[in-house]
Structure formats: C-alpha cells, structure tokens
C-alpha cells in the first residue's frame, strides 16, 4: 500500500503535532499531492480566507507513487491559498524531500495557525517537534540548510526552507528543498513565512511499501524502458535540460522580449542550453558542469552550473556564500527567459548568478524577472524614475541593474520590497496595470500566446494564475508531442488545452514528475499505480480524477473571487499584433477560444462550473 494513510497535523498556534488518519475516501477520488491537497484545502480553508493570516493552512503532500522506485517518484506539492493570486496555490517540487516524508511514514504534513516566534519543524519518523529557529531567522536558505545539518548532525537530513524574502512578505517567495529544488510559484514560501516557520526538516527510515511488489517491479521497469527509449527523455533533456527550448521558441518568433513588447530576442542563443555547453575564455570551462537527477529519476534534466570566476558578480566577492564560487543549480528555460530575454539581457553568467540568488533566498525567478521587466518598461516610458528605483538605471539590457534588483529582492530591502509585490501590484501602484503581464496577478512563463495560440487559453484559465505547467500545449503546438498542431490557429485548442489540463492534474496528483509525460501517457502511469496501490486504476479513471481536480480548483477559485472574472489576458496580447518574425501580425484569439472552452468543460456560458458537471464528477 503506497499511502501511509497517516497525516501529521501541526498546529503552530497551539504548539501541537498530532497524527491523524488520511481520508481514504478522498484519496480514492483525488489520488494525492495536488488533487488530495486541494480537497483538504477546500474542506478546511474557506475560499475567502486572508492568505497571510493564521487561518490559512499549508498542505505539504506526497502522492501514492512518491518514495517508490517509479521513475521521478520524489515529488511533493505545497497546497495553500496564494497571497500573490488570491487563488488556490499548488507548487510542486522534486529533489529528495517528498520521498523522505513518505519514508518517515507520512503522506502529508499540515501546517496551521501561526507560531508566536520563529520556529522550524523537525520530523524523524514518528517524532515531530516544533523547535526554535531564532538562530536562522534572517538567514538565507543555504545558510539555514548548513545550520540545520550541523545541528542535527545528519548529512541525510532533508531540508525545505524559506529565505529572507519569505520572512518579509515578498509575494513570490518559494520554498527551496535540497538547496536548489523549488516549490516555486504563487508565493507558497510567503505563506510559510507568515506562520513564522523557517524550515521543515525530515528524516525517514521506514521505507515505502507497495501493494503488489512483483507487479510493481515489472510495471516500473516497463515504464522506465519507455523513458530510456524516447529521444526527448533519454537524450534531449539530460543533455540540454529545459533550456533546449530557448532557440526553438525564439526561432519561431514566440519569445517574449522586453516585457512582451517584442517576440524575437537577438541574444537568445547566447543564453541557450547550447550556449551553456560552450567553453568560456577565462577558465576554459563550460557554464554547465553536469546534469543532475532528483530522487528515483531516470531522466536527469537538472542543471549543475558554475559562474565564470572572472564575472563581475562573483569576482573578489568574498562576502558571497561559497556556492557562488562553485557548482550549484543552474538555469532552467523559464528562469533564463524571465531574468534574460524579458529584461533584454544576454549575459549568461549574470543570469546564472541571479538564478543562484533565487535559489539561495527562495524566489520564483519567473515572477522576479517579469516584475523587473515590467519596471524596466515603466522606467523607459518615464512612468517611474530614479527617484522611485533608488537611483537604479532600469533600462532594458542593463545587466548591473538586473543584478542589483535581484539582490535587493533577495535581501527584501529598499526598492526590492517594491519589486517584491509582483508586477500586478507594482504596475497598478504606478497607474499602469495594463503593463503587467499576468493572469490572476501571477506572471507569465516564456511563451508568447500570440504565436502559440493554445497557451493564451491555458494562461487565462490556469487555476493558479498564468502558468505553463497547468496545460502545456506547447508540447503539441511547437514540439509535436504527442501530435503536431498549428500554433497560429485557435481551432481545436479548447479541447487540446482541456486534455492537457486534465492529464497534467492527474500526473501532478500521482507523485511523479510532469516531464515523464513527454514520453508517458496515462496508460503508462496506470499500471504503476495499479501495482502500487490497492484498487483498480485505469487511464480513464486517472483522466477523470484530473478533470475532478481541475473543477475542484475552479470551484474554490470562484468562491475566492478568482473564477471567470479573472479569465483574462493583458490587452497587449489581445490588441497589439506581433511586430516581426514568423508570427508577425498575430494577436491571441482568446475571445474565440474561451466560449468553446467553457462549453467543452461542461460549464455555463458564463464560465461557472455547472451543477451537472459537479454531479457527474462527484464534487
């Protein structure tokens, strides 16, 4: 049985840690991780709850495959109500934290209430304690990680922590585990900080039990063979990581550039995955040292990189954590885009440095880079001046300015606190909300939906705010997975987006990484779950679970004021045609796709989940 059927509920206000049974009726309907966490949220946290109040709760939750030998089975999710979006938040992370939670005997850890002073949570199998964190409050994730490992005298302790921005209310603070894996989006780290929790540390020694071991061995081996035989998961991702996309998206003219004013970035190839392999002049080393894998992963897309020791960000900088002078988590495509293309910067070492800061301090690089980019456009338009920026020349392409802004947000100081609001609040504060490239106040990822139409619908309807990881039709529209569709047309995109959204919700609830879906379908996941967990699991049932999860998130958002009223794109994407390149002349066709989407979802024409759909899905 792959669920431990045990939940650890930690009430920070009362100072209690108590075990309770997992609600298995809900697990049958919502599986685990994203789905089951959202079910608990919707039952326990009213949608109108203030996200940074003690009444909000956090659900750190695994899936039924987490901790097993299924490929990529190290995942856990953080579900809560987001302070950035006001909608449901679910951030998913790899590394080695989720499997450790499962091995300690817990499917889920719930944090509720608020501690009177800074604390961290220590979990060692059945023993859970709330311990003082005064010594690490005000420290970075990396400093806290070292202190916690030293204090517990256990090199295998797994740590998930927030940095200074999470303590001080930066609205896109992440929870970082294993130094550079992130529950990155929607400000889940900010919620943790609001509860006065610096970190959760876990050590588990119980192992994980599956329902039918021999079948499970066969099913997971068969699934791994599929990953090993697929050119994307076997060669493309380990060699170039997500950064392989940089040149693809730019060459097709869908690269958001300078706060989405342009759709081709001249410097893209200089910050691409391929560029990360090129030896640099100073020491002959490439940016990329090697690839890396999370727990049980047979893809290994992670990037381990160094910064050029002669680069201004690190040269003679003895004040920096030693990791800046060595190997650490390198650039993913989204981070390289947001910190680079969107700000007009093609300096790969500066981007790597900024990415390290995001890891050290727990920041979402997409929201950070996008907010800096919006501020740069406002600066160039004269809407803000050096009087607002603290003297920083925020011109597009100014490397030093991007680095300085990143450091200030990382320290949560000065102008960094302004940028820490995120672009929606920042642009609104200065009277230009239309310059914020967001949906539900969450910043877009790196795909211009004027050149990739289905992604516009995906951004507008994404339950956690603009996101690529909720319905990645780029796979079909650009990459031809599973079939190639035309990125420049709206026909069929409603059904395509729904298919991706529901399947993704199922993957996200199972305990595995969404990147397996480049090679696996739900038909490949079902046999693994079947052998792992009691009960009959089929692809059809998993797709229905995905649909149920999507609709539950939507219902929660409707009650939180984030339903159909927020299914919008910024006017730039609807009214300003792409200026040059292969998608020249295009705007996004959301007004055409959205009614089709509502209809295909079985919602009312106003975008409300219908009673019939609720009844059909058993919500």
């Amino acid at each position: 049985m792959s669920w431990t059927k045990k939940v650890l509920r930690i009430n920070l206000s009362a100072g209690t840690c108590e075990a309770e049974p997992l609600n298995m009726e809900w697990a049958e309907l919502y599986l685990g991780q994203r789905g089951l966490g959202t079910k608990y949220l919707s039952e326990e946290v009213p949608p109108t709850t203030e996200p940074l109040s003690p009444e909000n709760k956090m659900y750190l939750i695994t899936g039924p495959l987490t901790g097993t030998m299924a490929s990529t089975a190290g995942r856990y999710s953080v579900v809560t109500k987001s302070p950035l979006t006001g909608a449901v938040a679910c951030s998913n992370s790899g590394g080695f934290f989720g499997n450790e939670m499962k091995c300690a005997g817990w499917d889920m850890v719930i944090l509720e209430g608020k501690a009177a002073s800074p604390v961290y949570i220590s979990i060692n199998d059945d023993n859970a304690e709330i311990l003082p964190a005064d010594d690490i409050w005000g420290k970075s994730v990396w400093e806290a990680d070292e202190w916690l490992h030293s204090k517990h005298q256990d090199p295998q302790l797994r740590v998930a922590a927030i940095g200074v921005p999470g303590e001080k209310g930066v609205l896109y603070s992440a929870i970082i585990n294993d130094l550079h894996r992130a529950a990155g989006r929607s400000g889940v780290g900010t919620v943790m900080g609001s509860k006065n929790v610096k970190a959760v540390v876990i050590r588990g020694s119980k192992g994980v039990h599956v329902d039918k071991p021999k079948e499970f061995f066969e099913a997971t081996n068969a699934a791994k063979a599929i990953l090993a035989g697929n050119p994307v998961t076997a060669e493309g991702m380990p060699t170039l990581g997500t950064q392989v996309l940089m040149n693809v998206i730019n060459e097709m003219g869908a690269m958001p550039t300078k706060n989405w004013q342009h759709s081709v970035f001249e410097g893209a190839s200089k910050v691409s995955g391929e560029a990360m392999l090129e030896p640099r002049e100073s020491d002959g080393k490439a940016n990329l040292t090697r690839n890396g894998a999370c727990f049980a992963c047979t893809i290994a897309c992670g990037r381990i990189s160094t910064i050029d020791p002669q680069h201004f960000t690190v040269k003679n900088r003895e004040d920096l954590h030693h990791s800046y002078h060595g190997n650490s988590g390198g650039l993913e495509y989204e981070a390289a885009w947001a910190l680079g293309c969107d700000t007009g910067i093609d300096d790969i070492d500066a981007l790597t440095y900024a990415n390290f800061v995001c890891n050290e301090q727990g920041l979402d690089p997409i929201s950070l880079g996008s907010t800096i980019a919006a501020a740069m456009e406002m600066y160039e338009e004269g809407i803000i001046t050096k009087a607002d920026t603290g003297g920083i020349d925020l011109s597009f392409g100014n490397v030093e300015a991007m680095v300085k802004c990143t450091e200030l947000v990382g320290a949560a100081e000065g102008f960094g606190l302004e940028l820490g609001m995120g672009s929606a609040r920042f642009c609104a504060k200065y009277g230009h909300p239309e310059l914020s490239m967001t949906v539900r106040s969450q910043e877009f990822p790196a795909y211009d939906p004027r050149g990739i139409q289905g992604m516009g619908l995906g951004f507008a309807t994404s339950n956690r705010g603009a996101c690529h990881l909720r319905g990645y039709t780029v796979a079909s529209e650009v990459l031809g997975i599973p079939i190639k569709t035309d990125p420049l047309v709206t026909d069929g995109k409603a059904e395509l987006q729904i298919g991706f959204q529901d399947a993704t919700a199922a993957f996200d609830s199972a305990g595995i990484c969404i990147f397996t879906s480049f090679a696996w379908t739900l038909d490949d996941v079902a046999p693994q779950l079947n052998a792992d967990s009691a009960g009959e699991w089929t692809a059809e049932r998993l797709a229905e679970i995905g649909e149920r999860v999507w609709n539950l998130e939507r219902i929660y958002n409707e009650a939180a004021g984030q339903g159909a009223i927020a299914d919008k794109l910024p006017p730039r994407l609807l009214n300003e045609a792409i200026k040059a390149g292969p998608a020249k002349g295009k705007v996004n066709g959301l007004p055409v796709m959205l009614p089709e989407y509502y209809r295909a979802r079985g919602w009312t024409e106003d975008g409300v989940v219908s009673e019939e759909t609720k009844a059909r899905l058993g919500i």
């Binding site: 060669e235 493309g236 997500t242 392989v244 040149n247 097709m252 495509y333 650009v478 990459l479 390149g581």
Partner: protein
C-alpha cells in the same frame, strides 16, 4: 545563379555543423534556384530520422512537405531533433 540560405542546427544536431563552426548554430549553404529542403538534407548528410522539428523561416514544415519544398535565396532553415522542456 548561385544563391545561399542559412542553415541552423541545434541540440544534438550540432554535431553535423561544419568543422570550425562549433560556436555558432548557423552557416551559409549555397543552393541553386530549384534546390529543395530534401536536397539540402542530403547535401549535409543529416539523419532524416533525427529531424523532428524543421522550421523554414520560423514556420514549421510538415514532414510530408520537406522533400519537395523549394528554397529561395536568404531563406533560414532550422533543424532540431525531438526536444522538450518547460
């Protein structure tokens, strides 16, 4: 009259870049007026089974059109193997 196009090779296809061209993805390739994409693939000895994404001036070229599509002076022809990210 001899014309030329720009060929770009990315990801694992970079191994087919001309010698001394390893720091750039693109290189010039001479064509004649009636040269097709298929003929360029032959001339460069690119592995057809490994050409998953082919963009002609940034627009996806369907597999069934690749052999016969003619090229024009100054076209940009880009190739990728099967890749994905996110």
């Amino acid at each position: 009259m001899t014309e030329k196009i720009t060929v770009k090779l990315f990801a694992s296809l970079m191994r087919y870049l001309p010698v001394n061209n390893t720091k750039s993805h693109g290189f010039d390739h001479a064509i004649h007026a009636d040269t097709t994409v298929g003929q360029v693939i032959d001339a460069l000895q690119l592995p057809r089974e490994g050409l998953h994404i082919v963009l002609l001036n940034g627009v996806y070229l369907e597999p069934e059109l690749r052999e016969s599509t003619p090229l024009n002076d100054a076209d940009v022809l880009s190739f990728w193997p099967a890749v994905a990210g996110g």
